[in-house]
């Protein structure tokens, strides 16, 4: 069957998972207290008005029918209408998503730029000064919450230098890059310690294995040993770690977009939740869940490409 078989199988497994996710998101609306019709029509609406809204939204239909309709709509990209702005939720998300994509991709890139070299150094210098120093800074990074790191960066870097805007997003590529730098750095400071620690552990376990002894015995040393023998074997666990971390980063984005006043989906979720705008909350939740599923799927595929043994391990 081979690796392509593995990827195909993994894709098929995702389908029932997606239905499960849609079901959970759908149920959020059902179990949340409060009457959606009242929410839309307002406090002074009469019972007749409410009934009209219910009819219009199909709220009187059996739950199964509502679920079927919801799945059908979602499949067509229709996530319903915001209670607040009356605009399609899909459009609201569409307006906000590019900011978050910028934030996450820059944040992940920075995380990798920081954590791969430091993780490698910590593993190669295990139990020596460099290792202790890296682990110490890692602990520091872990113990600083993102909203605090963000504020500190704003106060100590953005305001005195004026290089970076204190909030908001830009229009040109350069403006966007400037606006995203500090938020992405905040993300990276919070997530790097986790990746550094995982990568260090993965590399140490690889370096203690017999095949590293074999490599050293035939004279493979230094950078060549790390590149050709250690990194590819440690990369599998590393990719999985990064995938898990991206899941957390999504929720980090909620905090960071609020701190830096970035108009992304994280900020959108906060606004929707505060306004009890349930269709929007549903839309954001669905989006976050889909991203996590996609990232895990991608990480499994990358792992399969990196490790020739995956085909027999499934």
């Amino acid at each position: 069957m081979g690796r392509f078989g593995f990827v195909a199988r993994r894709l098929l497994q995702t389908i029932p998972m997606l239905f499960g996710i849609v079901l959970v998101v759908f149920l959020v609306l059902q179990i949340t207290p409060g009457d959606p019709a009242r929410q839309i029509a307002g406090l002074r609406a009469s019972e007749a008005d409410l009934e009209e809204v219910r009819q219009e939204l199909g709220l009187n239909d059996p739950i199964i029918a509502q679920y079927g309709r919801y799945v059908g709509n979602v499949l067509q990209g229709d996530l319903g209408y915001s209670y607040k702005s009356r605009k399609p939720v899909a459009d609201i998300i569409g307006d906000r998503i590019s900011v978050t994509v910028w934030l996450l991709s820059t944040g992940v890139l920075m995380t990798l730029l920081i954590s791969v070299p430091l993780g490698v150094i910590a593993a190669l210098r295990k139990d020596r000064m460099a290792d202790h120093a890296i682990r110490g800074f890692g602990l520091l990074g872990l113990s600083m919450p993102a909203f605090w790191t963000g504020v500190i960066l704003l106060l100590l870097v953005a305001l005195p230098t004026g290089w970076f805007p204190a909030g908001g997003f830009g229009d040109t590529f350069g403006e966007k890059l400037r606006a995203i730098f500090l938020p992405a750095l905040t993300l990276a400071i919070g997530s790097s310690p986790f990746i550094i620690r995982g990568l260090r552990a993965a590399m140490i376990s690889v370096m203690e294995s017999d095949y590293i002894s074999t490599a050293r015995s035939i004279g493979v040393a230094g950078g060549r040993l790390v590149r050709r023998f250690v990194l590819r074997n440690a990369a599998g666990p590393g990719v999985t770690l990064v995938a898990i971390e991206i899941g957390y980063l999504l929720f980090g984005a909620v905090v960071i977009e609020t701190t830096f006043a970035l108009p992304g989906v994280g900020q959108g979720l906060v606004i929707a939740a505060q306004g009890r705008d349930l269709p929007s909350v549903q839309g954001y939740t669905l989006l976050f869940a889909l991203v996590v599923v996609a990232v895990y799927l991608l990480s499994d595929i990358v792992t399969a490409i990196l490790d020739p043994r995956v085909e027999i391990d499934t």
Binding site: R216, I218, G219, A221, R232, R309
Partner: protein, 326 residues
């Protein structure tokens, strides 16, 4: 003895174990001639594998090595060396478990080509050709096709042949074998032993072969060293040691091996357990398990002494043992 290739003098290896330290190899002396095959026999934990790994400088991190190791890289007499002097040059090693000893994310042909690429500066293509050639030399059928395979796609026997080809890729003078047949089926074991014998004769290589299996050592080795509790207790030509062991431990080892020609054999086994490396018994370390032990065995200082022109034993009662034992 022919010209010396390797000398090990008073080797002592200390490891951290919990809060204290242990000395699993404690005063080992070895000498190996060019083209010679030496077998080191002993139970698990006797220190035979560590001795082997210290020769090629592949001990685990934190291991302390004392003593003198000398190796002849050229035609001169053996001189002190560091691990980088011999890695990829004079000494190669093959391990017990070929699955874990081969890089799982590297095609086997690329692994075998590493040595030639680094040390002979061969181009990628030339190194690949050499890898295929080496694979043919160690008896791997269809080497061109197999060179492109991953380790997990090969059988255990083929994996060990790949390991041997990798070891040979750097043209070593000395091949260290750390129980290379233990993890294999018996029929494959014989093939691998035959291959090693053939390589040794064709390439004039020296071999140190570590095993707990005396029959395996008997097939391949000119000389034997018997290890017990971190020390060598007897050395001598293989045939002599087999026909007339000079140490009670050797004798006990041999009577615990089943043989085909004996009619009604009761396997003796050895009473008791190998000693704990955290507290070796005083005097002769085998004395608590020895059926010939006398009072002075626990008092006498341990020392390997020559009993013959090319034999030595650490037993202080060799005479008594020779009369009483046989």
């Amino acid at each position: 003895m022919t010209k010396r290739l390797l000398e090990v003098e008073d080797l002592r290896i200390t490891l951290q174990a919990g809060s204290g330290t242990i000395t699993p190899v404690d005063g080992v002396n070895l000498a190996l001639g060019r083209g010679e095959a030496l077998g080191i026999a002993g139970e698990s934990g006797s220190g035979k594998s560590l001795t082997l790994k210290s020769i090629i400088g592949l001990l685990p991190q934190g291991a302390q090595v004392e003593g003198n190791l000398r190796f002849a890289l050229g035609d001169e007499s053996p001189i002190p060396y560091t691990s980088t002097d011999v890695h990829g040059r004079g000494i190669s090693i093959i391990f017990q478990e070929p699955m874990t000893a081969l890089n799982p994310t590297m095609r086997v042909g690329d692994l075998i080509a590493e040595g030639p690429r680094i040390h002979e500066g061969l181009s990628k293509t030339a190194a690949r050709e050499r890898a295929v050639e080496l694979m043919r030399q160690v008896g791997i059928p269809a080497p061109e096709r197999r060179a492109k395979m991953w380790p997990h796609q090969l059988s255990g026997g083929l994996r060990q042949r790949v390991m041997i080809a990798t070891a040979l890729s750097t043209r070593p003078k000395l091949l260290l074998c750390d129980e290379p047949t233990t993890a294999l089926d018996v029929s494959i074991q014989d093939q691998i032993l035959g291959l090693l014998q053939e390589i040794r004769i064709n390439l004039g290589m020296s071999i140190i072969f570590v095993s707990h299996d005396l029959a395996v050592l008997g097939e391949l080795c000119d000389r034997l060293a018997i290890m017990y509790a971190g020390q060598i207790v007897e050395t001598g030509p293989t045939d002599d040691v087999f026909t007339k062991p000079n140490h009670p431990y050797t004798e006990a080892l041999m009577t615990s091996v089943p043989s085909f020609d004996a009619t009604s054999v009761k396997l003796a086994g050895i009473e008791g357990h190998p000693p704990d490396p955290r507290s070796f018994p005083p005097g002769c370390r085998f004395s608590p398990r020895c059926r010939y032990a006398r009072e002075d065995c626990t008092e006498a200082d341990f020392e390997l002494v020559a009993t013959d022109a090319d034999r030595s034993s650490a037993c202080i009662h060799t005479e008594v043992f020779a009369e009483g034992g046989r």
